[in-house]
């Protein structure tokens, strides 16, 4: 960039580059989000929510690139993402923390034609506040039962007009607007994070907490089973080991038919359950006048 050209650059651009450079230098995490078609008011909402955790800035790719270069960012890692309309997030937090944070709050909007519902769209029963008129036929098309009371449209009962994933009927839009129903989610589309020289693409950035819950569950279950198996000497685990040993003993007594007063219940029950199993296997053909016990509902 020549000095001559730089002189032509408006002051605000120079200021913005300096500001960006400063942010880049002071942030361990930089995230790039696609804001093509993203509603500006929603971006404000996000900015408010992120306050104290991260800063979000919309700027031109060229300015960001210059600033990044000046801040010593390895551009080769991120330049592939700096296309289209972007917002840049600056933070000193773990990029996954930001990603989870962003995924946690649902931003909603009114539908536009062609939108699919992200949640159930229900027209609630009651006064819609809408004046009876041509709108009645729209309700009719949506198969929403209405009646007119004091000149206003009343919906007779809660009516589902779209399930999650269903396209939202275009004619419903004005009604939803009027009723304040926003069944479409707006999500900031993260593209990548740059964190301490590492590039984390969105595929890794998106965290499914349920997966982690089930991993913990599995790890714990594994540990518990192993603990029980080796009689890990802490009371909570030994209780389970004792139970297991005892159940094994009862099962063995039952299967072997080794009957003593303390195994009698197990042995007789086992024999009876076998008898009932046989009985039920032939119950369609033979009536022995004995009821096969029904399995209780779980």
């Amino acid at each position: 960039m020549s000095i001559v050209e730089e002189r032509k650059i408006p002051r605000w651009k120079l200021d913005e580059v300096s500001e960006l450079e400063e942010k880049l230098k002071n942030s361990s995490t930089i995230m790039i989000a696609d804001i093509q078609g993203f509603p500006t008011d929603k971006l404000h909402e996000i900015r408010k929510k992120l306050r104290g955790i991260a800063e979000i800035k919309v700027t031109k790719n060229t300015l960001f690139t210059i600033a990044a270069k000046r801040a010593g960012i390895d551009l080769s890692k991120i330049e592939g993402y700096i296309t289209g309309s972007n917002a840049f997030i600056f933070s000193n937090d773990n990029p996954f923390v930001i990603s989870i944070f962003l995924s946690k709050f649902k931003l909603k909007r009114f539908p536009v034609p062609g939108d699919k519902a992200d949640e159930e769209v229900v027209i609630p029963a009651g006064d819609t506040g809408m004046t009876a008129g041509p709108i009645l036929s729209t309700f009719g098309k949506l198969k929403v039962q209405t009646k007119v009371q004091d000149g206003k449209v009343h919906v007779v009962k809660d009516t589902l007009i779209a399930k999650p994933g269903d396209p939202i009927p275009a004619e419903a839009a004005p009604i939803l607007q009027k009723l304040g129903i926003m069944p479409v989610y707006v999500k900031l589309r993260l593209k990548a994070a740059y964190h301490q020289g590492l590039l984390i693409p969105v595929s890794e950035l998106e965290i499914n907490l349920d997966t982690y819950r089930s991993m913990i569950n599995e790890a714990f279950r594994n540990s518990l089973f192993l603990g029980v198996e080796i009689a890990y000497p802490v009371p909570e685990v030994l209780k389970l080991t004792l139970s297991k040993a005892h159940m094994r003993a009862l099962a063995l007594a039952g299967e072997a038919g080794f009957l003593t007063p303390d195994t009698a219940s197990a042995v007789l029950s086992r024999a009876v359950s076998k008898a009932y199993a046989v009985l039920s296997a032939i119950s369609g053909k033979v009536d022995l006048g004995v009821e096969v016990p029904k399995q209780p509902e779980q």
């Binding site: 197990a266 029950s269 076998k274 009932y276 199993a277 296997a281 022995l288």
Partner: protein, 69 residues
């Protein structure tokens, strides 16, 4: 259930389950034999894989089922 117990007894002893055998057992136990039922049970069991049925006789009913919460 007498007919079933007699049949299982034969099965456990690896004996064939015949009308004759079931009747013998019931008689030895001092239990009156209902010819029709003996016939029906023996005939029905012929079509059943008893080992399989016993294997699937789940849940050793040692205890009460979990009380519905």
């Amino acid at each position: 259930m007498e007919y079933i117990y007699a049949s299982l007894l034969l099965h456990a002893g690896k004996k064939e389950i015949t009308e004759e055998a079931v009747k013998n057992i019931l008689t030895a136990a001092g239990i009156d034999v209902d010819e029709v039922r003996v016939k029906a049970v023996v005939a029905a069991l012929k079509e059943v894989n008893i080992d399989e049925v016993l294997k699937n006789a789940t849940a050793m009913p040692v205890a009460a089922a979990p009380a519905a919460a």
